[in-house]
Symmetry: C2
Subunit: 398 residues, 2 copies
């Protein structure tokens, strides 16, 4: 029985593929620090849970395909508070940020079309592109330049008659880089020049450190017809299991197309939309506290890593990830070895090999992504263990 080439050619998740080794380590009684996955440990705010508990409709019925009106109004209010000028009718609620990305890809491009994505990138973009039948064309960014974007010329080298969009993520998963206003303007200008879309994944919008500023594609002047902003409450409210995201676009044709996709799948989950509304009502104090905590974590990771011999990294500007170059020949093998052969006082560390975040097969082989989603005490311990692991791994080989 033949199955589809579409799924046959999909890569396994680099974030999840080492899972069996970490399960084995745990079954040997070893504590594994999970720096491999972006699952925050921050408690989901009580007012979100309370809203879910207070849901009292007699029938848990289908909602509107574009999301509840009050949910779309809440999102517009939140974005307008940031000065973006969004109408609730330009907001489309999705089942997680994942569906926002899938729908945007499907609405702007047909099977065989191309989408340019700066690499390293969030590995699930590959999966979404496979679902939509799109070819991912990677544009290399480098740890040495803090994973900022190359200039317009480098983009233009990749644009063909099949290019339908550029997908950016800022603050970036996996690099922690925040694209500057200049970079966002450059991307929009390229898109306008070539009549293609910018899909801008901004789920880490608030996760910015050192008073840096996030620039939304919605803020870039003249971006209206070309941009689709992608967002999610998963990280913002530590509510990954709620599966609520949304997209925002002022392009009526794109939005109408997305509405058709949305009507086919009927609606996003109803109760969690109610939860989201409470999240946005109460976000200010929660957010301040959370970002302060993440900045401390970022500092712990950076300060403890930067002086390790052979390690190269830049201080991440946002999100809660960093891509680090390690003095190892094969980060995939190293990550596995940490789980199968290494421990310090019964503890070890799981990281995500960065190769899986690149579309170019030869890139990132000596890099890993670290998600700093543990408290500072655990993080400090984890980075210490990681450093010792690097030394031991290289000793072992000689």
């Amino acid at each position: 029985m033949k199955i589809s080439e579409r799924v046959n050619s999909m890569q396994e998740s680099p974030i999840r593929k080492l899972l069996s080794y970490s399960d084995d380590a745990k079954s040997r009684g070893i504590k594994v620090y999970h720096l491999n996955i972006g699952q925050p440990d921050i408690p989901t705010p009580n007012y979100i849970y309370d809203a879910i508990k207070n849901y009292s409709e007699r029938v848990l019925a289908y909602g509107p395909s574009q999301g509840l009106k009050v949910a779309r109004e809440t999102v517009a209010d939140y974005l307008n508070g940031l000065g973006y000028g969004v109408n609730p009718n330009e907001v489309f609620i999705t089942t997680g940020g994942s569906e926002a990305i899938i729908f945007a890809m499907m609405a702007v491009a047909d099977p065989g079309d191309e989408i340019i994505i700066p690499e390293p990138f969030y590995t699930n973009y590959n999966g979404f592109a496979s679902m939509a039948g799109l070819k991912v064309v990677p544009l290399l960014t480098k740890v040495e330049t803090g994973f900022h974007l190359p200039d317009e010329k480098e983009f233009e080298k990749l644009i063909t008659s099949k290019t339908r969009a550029i997908l950016v993520c800022t603050p970036n998963n996996p690099t922690g880089t925040i694209f500057t206003k200049d970079e966002m303007e450059m991307v929009v200008n390229i898109a306008k020049k070539h009549k293609i879309f910018v899909l801008s994944d901004e789920v880490y919008r608030e996760f910015v450190f050192d008073n840096k500023k996030h620039t939304s594609v919605l803020e870039v002047e003249g971006s209206e017809e070309n941009s689709i902003m992608l967002d999610s409450i998963s990280k913002r409210f530590s509510a990954c299991g709620a599966r609520i995201g949304y997209l925002v676009t002022k392009n009526r044709n794109a939005l109408n197309g997305i509405l058709k996709l949305g009507q086919a799948r009927l609606c996003p989950p109803t109760i969690e939309q109610i939860g989201m509304i409470e999240g946005y009502k109460n976000m200010k104090s929660f957010m301040k506290e959370m970002i302060t905590e993440y900045q401390k974590r970022r500092d712990v990771v950076y300060e403890n890593l930067k002086n390790v011999e052979g390690v190269f990294t830049r201080k991440p500007e946002g999100a809660f990830y960093v891509v680090v170059k390690l003095p190892v020949d094969d980060a995939d093998n190293f990550a596995k070895w940490m789980l199968t052969d290494f421990e310090v006082d019964g503890k070890t560390v799981m990281v995500a090999p960065a190769n899986g975040f690149y579309a170019s097969p030869d890139k990132g082989k000596d890099e890993v992504r670290i998600a700093y989603v543990l408290n500072t005490v655990e993080l400090e311990d984890a980075i210490k263990i990681l450093s010792l692991g690097i030394k031991e791994y290289n000793k072992r080989k000689r």
Copy 2:
């Protein structure tokens, strides 16, 4: 700005496209009986809501991509109670039945491949096929033969080198027909002969009347490698807004492919899976009461329609829909007219023109789908108004 041909070519939902006319009618103070959409009025059981309210994890975290283990075990227990012999590892929890269908299509077929679907069919299959880039090849079934399947020869006429699957829905939306054991065996045999899949949408499994018997594809001997069963809790527990469905397959390659698709979108909603578990624990008494109610409704619809001059319909065997042939030239126009120009004592009826349930453009033009999702008193009134409407509509034209 060009958008994709994929969304441009998607038809508008025939169930939803008359919505603005019904909104207008309501704004004129007219009560509209909605027989156009499969949104049950049955209250969602309290124990499902209670389970949702009692969810008390500190972090609403990502769950497993294939669904919570306890949710998969619950589904397997339920199906094994029906004698199907299912292992929890063969169950994959999805975001609604919608995602189960999309994932199954994407896993068994590539863009440009074909899928045979008996028509009339659930109109959103078109949307899912567009998402997956598949061509829907319709196989005509007729009101005169109770929308049962034609013989093997008719299927084989449609099979090409690009055919990857046959999609059946039993009990059927929109026709209310239950495919017999012989019909299900025939479909499986065709699939085995041509090395293609059977996708079997069984979300209305319990909605069977007059002691008829539903046959699952999972019951058909020798179907293991070729079948994917699609299911949802939306109708079974009157929980359409929960967005929980699942698929079941014993084909390891298909399941692995679906797991990759599932990993990309991370996970289905967590809290509603907990709700589903309580639903299955308590389903027996709830289900009996609900089916008794639906059978009464079915009788009201059938008994009140069958004697209307020029109307042709068979008594539906299951689900909560029926496709009815009306003595009108254009059911689309008639359905609209009922909303814009007709009322009885300030009330009118909204039905779904059946043309949208056919892939063949010329079919079903004098048919409508009726969803009997109102109580019997309202239904009786609605069918009376519909009958008067048919007479008036035809008088008006002469």
